[in-house]
Amino acid sequence: MSSTRLLRNKENLILFGALSIRPGSAAFGRFLLSVAVLLYVVWQPVHSAIADESTGGYVEAPITEGDRDHWAFRPLVRLDPPEHRFSQWRINEIDDFIAAELQNSGLVPQSAAPKRTLVRRLFLDVTGLPPTSAQIDSFLLDSSPDAWPELVRNVLADKGYGERWAQHWLDLARFAETDGFEHDKVRPEAWWYRDWVIDAFNADMPYDEFIAQQLAGDEMYPGDKVAATATQFCLSGPDMPDINLLEERRHTVLNELTTTIGEAILGLQVGCAQCHDHKYDPISQADFYRLRAVFAPSLKLQKNKSLTSLQETVPWKKSAHVMIRGDFRRPGPEVLPAAIRVVALDSDLHLAPRKATAGYRTAFVQWLMNNAQSLTARVIVNRIWQHHFGAGIVDTPNDFGIMGALPSNQHLLDWLAVRLVESGWRLKSLHELILNSASYRQASYRTSSADSSEDEVWQRSLSKDPHARLLSRYPRWRLEGEAIRDSMLMASGQLNRRAGGPGVRPPLPKELVDTLLKKQWVVTEDESEHYRRSIYVFARRNLRYPIFEAFDRPAANASCAQRSTSTTAPQALYLLNSEFTLTTSRKLARDVLQQSDKQNQLIDTVFLRILGRPPTSQETEHVIEFLRRQQQFTSSKVDALTHLCLSLFNTSEFIFVD
């Protein structure tokens, strides 16, 4: 790099950067980042990069003290919760960390949201389903101080919890039930893994065990089919079984699984190091291929056969190599299986070979849970937090490296991580702590009864904490496509809560079926199956189910830590015009009409079933007028009421959670 060029740019940065970047703006953040990177570049120790024929020109840079000093690699620090002036408000330690930050920023936390809002938030967040009218009423009527903690316990015990949180994990596992690519063939055993994940969440399987089985279930529990199923995690990505060269396929699959493990479990972009050393993080190409070597003996490939679970070949006689420029035809220096160096002082694997296994993966799991414990725990705590609050404490959940975001509250992150490890890696106790906090129970919008001082607090929250990252209020979030569909099925009384089993295929519009190869979407015969929860809808890699696709379900081609939440016209078109919305609305209308035919009662029931609240008097008036107008076009009461249901399914209130 020419130093004059750098210098010139540096001048630009200083001259014009100051001129045009506003402190506190996003641009300012990027500016600071640029300065940090610049400093990093200038002061980074100079590594030798002399080409060497025998190593294919590859020389690995050592890990420096400075590399290890990155916040995510440092040991967990357990700090006592800080002091603050919101002792009246706080409920548990989480609130102390949040409150202290708010106080530092001149902000004030919000008091609890109305009970009706809270119960809807809790159910949708934990189970992905809205509460029933009876569940709402029983919580509203329960005035005991334990009402909320008890509700939290009950909701976490519902099997809906596993059915919702499994999807968060399946996004990370880039799970689909087909191969992708040209033939997109079905993987008939894929749903076993999906059910395994659901069951693991529901049984509150400790996180260390959860990971252990997914990486090494077959090694640790020889002959246990269930544990072996868990290793499908490693092989859930896209694959082309009919590719010409098996060697190329092996290379691609191994690189893909190594990348996914790096992202999903370590929160590191390890995959960036497959062609050359990571651009920013101290992760070398050799690091990548060492980690890959942990898994290489366990990938059995057969031409034209889809991937299933890991299966170790013992003894494994092939050596592992750095692949020059990531090219499968260019093996470079040999490497031995090991973990990522920068994460922990000891990255060697301590093998305990047994008859059927050399024990690489078991040793790697032990490294993850012991040597790399700080990072492993921080990453999962951050994910749990992220799904409860819409954003993680670290805003880049799959990148805890140098280019990732800094934690918005590192003390809190560390405190929670320590708690998780101490609790024996129990996720439900972490959920419980979060859900019981005052931070979680805050209002997301100002109630109309707010007085002027509350009003001022609110305005400050909006202006100083625009995205509610500091949690000066609860951040509103949009339901995922899966939860929208499930909520609609539930409101209309059609939801079939049968659990587990092969993926179901509800009917698809003809236009979509036409884009597929023949017989790629054979509709499930038993119609009652069409109303199963969304997690049980067959996950074809090359064709996402329309409502899921419209609402940002990720393509299962790479680990996805955070879905985007776009707002698009096709979403509106789907909710307005799809056959699903119309038939669901009609079903609900019929259902409601069977119970009563008094107009006001009908309106009340429809509001309660869809929005979980009765209408205001102004709304009732408006809706009566709406029904009268609808009846100009149709003589049928069902039709008019169907349009009311359809309209309510289209409201922002239905799609968003306060």
Binding site: V41, Q44, V46, M240, N244, Y445, A569, Q630, S652
Partner: protein, 499 residues
């Protein structure tokens, strides 16, 4: 300095150059207020920030949907191409039989590939098969004398408009990987397609229509499927919206049977009433606002899209130009006409696929396969060029023709040819590109790109450049990196193509 540090510096340069560019604009005009600079800087940072923050993504989506906004990615003041029509010949048309004349191949037909060509990776082990002569005769065409085969008499009459790139090369002998590479720059699934990048970079010009529309072959079965026009890690807003000819061009565009428009207007008015109240109580939240607007757009699309696909007002003359009066060319001709109607109405990026599951994949018999597919597409594609020209649209519309790869000089099963990603053709027309030319060359038999090689990344960089976008500046922050269409390695705009 270490490799890592060097690259970090390189990336920093890109970022700094954006700042520098804004400052240059400032000093050049003198009168611009710093607020303007803020705006342009903020656009790129805001997009990235919002995309990362998630919370404000609604706003991001809204601007993509509704606004022809000033782009942060435009590198020069006057883009040569304002829109793109991409004719994608799925299956792999044979360059040596269409646009890349190889007399040497005729000469050595029937003999095995000379040793000097070394090992050749092929999909179906055809490396030792005898060479096969081009199926049809090539002739010099137009004033330029550009050689085109007799398979394509209609396109041949446009020879003087075409710049044939004869030295394209890709990385995979398989269909889906190559379809992905031609569309996304990577042979792996799940990256944003060129159209998505353009939609992300430039937004839409038509407030009633998406920026990126795909017209798939009605036979379906594209190898690799919809991820070919997917938005990858870009927000879903930017993915290609598939449209069809006929009454229902977009999925769920119209209400279900039995629901009339006035009923729906009542619904929409109730939805608006409830949403506005909901939003008012929630501090006019951006994301909620975006939703209100998405409904408005959906409603406008319901009106605009049918009009877009309604060709009843087109003259007989026009229909004939596209071959819509002939059952053999009617289908593709109709889609070409729709493409013109779309770009005319401000859709930025239209992609048409020719070929169902098998398409141009002439393993068994090139003559039979290409006779059929050329017949279906030759006249319509030529008609599109004629029509665009007549309407003055060709000047700033870029037309691209290519497949995911070409075909081998060796034969397969006697009369067919296997996939060839190592060297193949595509052509560009319009956008002020001088025609009647070939750029680059394959070796003597058309096996590998040999002279002035153009990688798919270079090809993409060139397309973006024509649209006024610097491919290095068009980035999206994802998983800790500023990702771009042209990938992490070097890619170059091929200036000689644009010339």
């Amino acid at each position: 300095m270490s490799w890592r540090a060097f690259l970090a510096g390189a990336d920093l340069r890109c970022r700094l150059s954006q700042i520098a560019e804004a400052s240059i604009r400032y000093s050049a005009t003198g009168t611009l207020r710093s607020g303007v600079i803020m705006q342009s800087l903020d656009l790129s940072s805001r997009r990235t920030f919002l995309a990362r923050a998630g919370g404000g993504a609604g706003m991001l989506a809204y601007t993509a949907l509704c606004g022809a906004e000033e782009s942060a990615f435009v590198s020069h003041a006057k883009p040569r191409a304002r829109r793109v029509i991409w004719l994608f010949m799925h299956g792999g048309p044979s360059h040596v039989d269409l646009f890349d004349p190889k007399p040497v191949l005729t000469k050595y037909a029937g003999q095995p590939l000379p040793e000097s060509f070394g090992n050749v990776m092929t999909r179906r082990n055809v490396a030792r098969n005898p060479l096969m002569a081009p199926i049809r005769r090539f002739r010099p065409r137009g004033n330029s004398g550009l050689e085109i085969s007799e398979f394509l008499p209609h396109l041949a009459s446009h020879a003087d408009d075409l710049c044939v790139v004869r030295s394209l090369h890709g990385d995979s002998v398989n269909h889906p990987q190559s379809v992905y590479q031609m569309n996304t720059g990577s042979i792996l699934m799940g990256n944003p397609s060129v159209g998505s990048w353009v939609a992300y970079g430039l937004g839409t010009e038509n407030r009633n229509m998406p920026a990126f529309v795909v017209l798939p072959d009605p036979g379906g079965g594209l190898k690799g499927g919809p991820p070919a026009w997917g938005s990858g890690y870009l927000p879903a807003t930017y993915q290609g919206v598939t449209m069809r000819a006929g009454k229902s061009p977009i999925l769920d565009l119209q209400p279900q049977m039995g629901v009339n428009t006035r009923q729906q207007q009542e619904d929409l008015s109730l939805i608006r009433f409830l949403n506005e109240r909901h939003q008012r109580l929630r501090d006019m939240d951006d994301q909620l606002d975006a939703r209100v607007r998405a409904y408005e757009l959906a409603f406008r699309m319901q009106a605009a899209a049918p009009n877009l696909v309604d060709t009843s007002n087109e003259s007989k003359e026009t229909l004939r130009t596209y071959g819509i009066d002939d059952p053999r060319t009617q289908e593709f001709g109709h889609r070409c006409l729709l493409a013109r109607r779309m770009v005319e109405r401000g859709v930025r990026f239209v992609q048409l696929y020719s070929g169902n599951t098998n398409g141009w994949d002439a393993h068994a018999d090139v003559d039979q396969n290409h006779t059929e597919h050329c017949l279906k597409t030759d006249k319509p594609a030529a008609g599109l060029l004629t029509d665009l020209k007549q309407r003055g649209l060709l000047e700033d519309t870029l037309v691209i023709w290519c497949g995911e790869f070409g075909r081998m000089p060796m034969s397969e099963q006697g009369k067919g040819r296997d996939h060839n990603p190592w060297g193949f053709c595509g052509w560009l027309a319009g956008a002020g590109i001088p025609g009647g030319r070939a750029y680059g060359a394959t070796d003597d038999i058309g096996l590998r790109a040999a002279v002035d090689r153009v990688s798919i990344n270079d090809f993409h960089a060139t397309i973006l450049h024509l649209m006024g976008i610097d491919h290095e500046a068009l980035t999206y922050f994802h998983n800790g990196l500023d990702k771009r269409l042209t990938g992490p390695d070097e890619a170059h705009v091929v200036d000689e193509i644009i010339a």
